[in-house]
């Protein structure tokens, strides 16, 4: 049997950057490498705050009992488990990610956690740019710290729009690319002086230096709202949270 190899698109077309270009394959490998310490580092680096932001993201998604839900770029499953609690036994949650290692951890966590409702979760290895779901299937979608890492954000938004039921929402949590100079400076200082040194202890300095590059290349709140509206969403609003360090885009189909 022959392998199905597609050329992997590089960074979005509009940019030539002074730093190295990262293709989808590089990012996939990066997330495979950080998988074993990902959860611990999230807790450490955000002083546990990420748990609050994720609960907010799930609330904004409008997920409720009995729904069919999708958590994109699910990683080790934090948002997926929260969505599972919302959906309940009659609902269904799909956690999708392109990192085998992250999904393996998510699957192990599902087994080890005691809540019976987590039986409504299924894990799928997939690409946010080519979702393996039919049109209009999901009642809500969440995406936590994923949009910034996809190589084609426009296409990711279009795919999310396609698989959402009319009237449903997507809730996208990520770092905020702030237009406030002080916030931007503080964010950069935190990455240079807290995040990267901590990651260095785990042998992952290079992987977390990528964070600064990816935020730099990310879109501002206004740009994200426009991206959603251009993809066909009828409503889009970006909320700044975590003192402006984080942002949550809410868009309705």
């Amino acid at each position: 049997m022959r392998s199905l190899q597609f050329s992997v698109p590089l960074l979005p077309t509009s940019r030539f950057k002074r730093h190295s270009v990262r293709c989808a394959s590089d990012r996939q490998q990066l997330f495979n490498r950080i998988a074993p310490v990902y959860d611990n580092l999230n807790d450490l680096l955000s002083l546990g705050q990420h748990r609050i932001w994720k609960r907010m993201a799930v609330s904004w998604s409008g997920a409720k009992t009995g729904d069919s839900l999708l958590d994109l770029c699910c990683g080790s499953g934090d948002l997926t488990f929260l969505m599972s609690e919302k959906a309940g036994a009659d609902g269904k949650v799909i956690g999708l990610d392109f990192s085998k290692e992250q999904l393996s951890i998510a699957s192990s966590r599902q087994y080890l956690l005691s809540k019976a409702c987590y039986n409504n979760i299924e894990w799928v290895e997939g690409d946010a740019l080519d979702l393996p779901f039919s049109n209009g299937y999901f009642d809500a979608i969440t995406m936590g710290y994923g949009l910034r890492n996809v190589v084609d954000k426009r296409r990711a938004m279009q795919e999310m729009f396609r698989v959402l039921k009319p009237g449903s929402r997507v809730s996208i949590l990520d770092f905020n690319k702030s237009m406030q100079p002080f916030t931007a400076l503080f964010q950069e200082w935190m990455i240079d002086n807290v995040v990267v040194p901590t990651a260095t202890v785990y042998g992952l300095a290079k992987e977390y230096q990528y964070l600064k590059t990816s935020i730099d290349e990310f879109l501002t709140g206004k740009e994200l709202e426009k991206l959603a509206l251009d993809a066909g969403f009828s409503y889009a609003r970006h909320y700044e949270i975590g003192g402006g360090l984080m942002g949550n885009l809410v868009a309705a189909r």
Binding site: R2, S3, L4, K92, S104, E125, D127, P132, S134
Partner: protein
């Protein structure tokens, strides 16, 4: 016990549960997928590609797909013809 059984079945790679296989479509053609038991995989007949299932997790990234040789598609067609004739 139920949880453990389900987890063990997935770990054994015996495939993906029916609800999930009903939800999933080919990531490229967006057409329905056919479940194959051995090796555990999901077949997209619309484009002649097979996607593996590993440890109960369907691998549906486009580059995970393997183009099916004509022999594989012919075997499936023959099996389908036989079952139609036996009815």
């Amino acid at each position: 016990m139920v949880r453990l059984s389900k987890w063990l079945l997935k770990e054994a790679g015996t495939g993906v549960n029916k609800t999930l296989s009903d939800i999933l479509v080919c990531p490229l053609s967006k057409q329905a997928l056919r479940v194959c038991e051995e090796p555990p995989s999901l077949i997209s007949d619309s484009i002649g590609v097979s996607f593996p299932i590993k440890d109960g997790i369907p691998c549906l990234v486009p580059t995970d797909g393997k183009i099916l040789d004509t022999d594989d598609t012919m075997k499936h067609d023959n099996a389908a013809d036989d079952s139609a004739n036996n009815k």
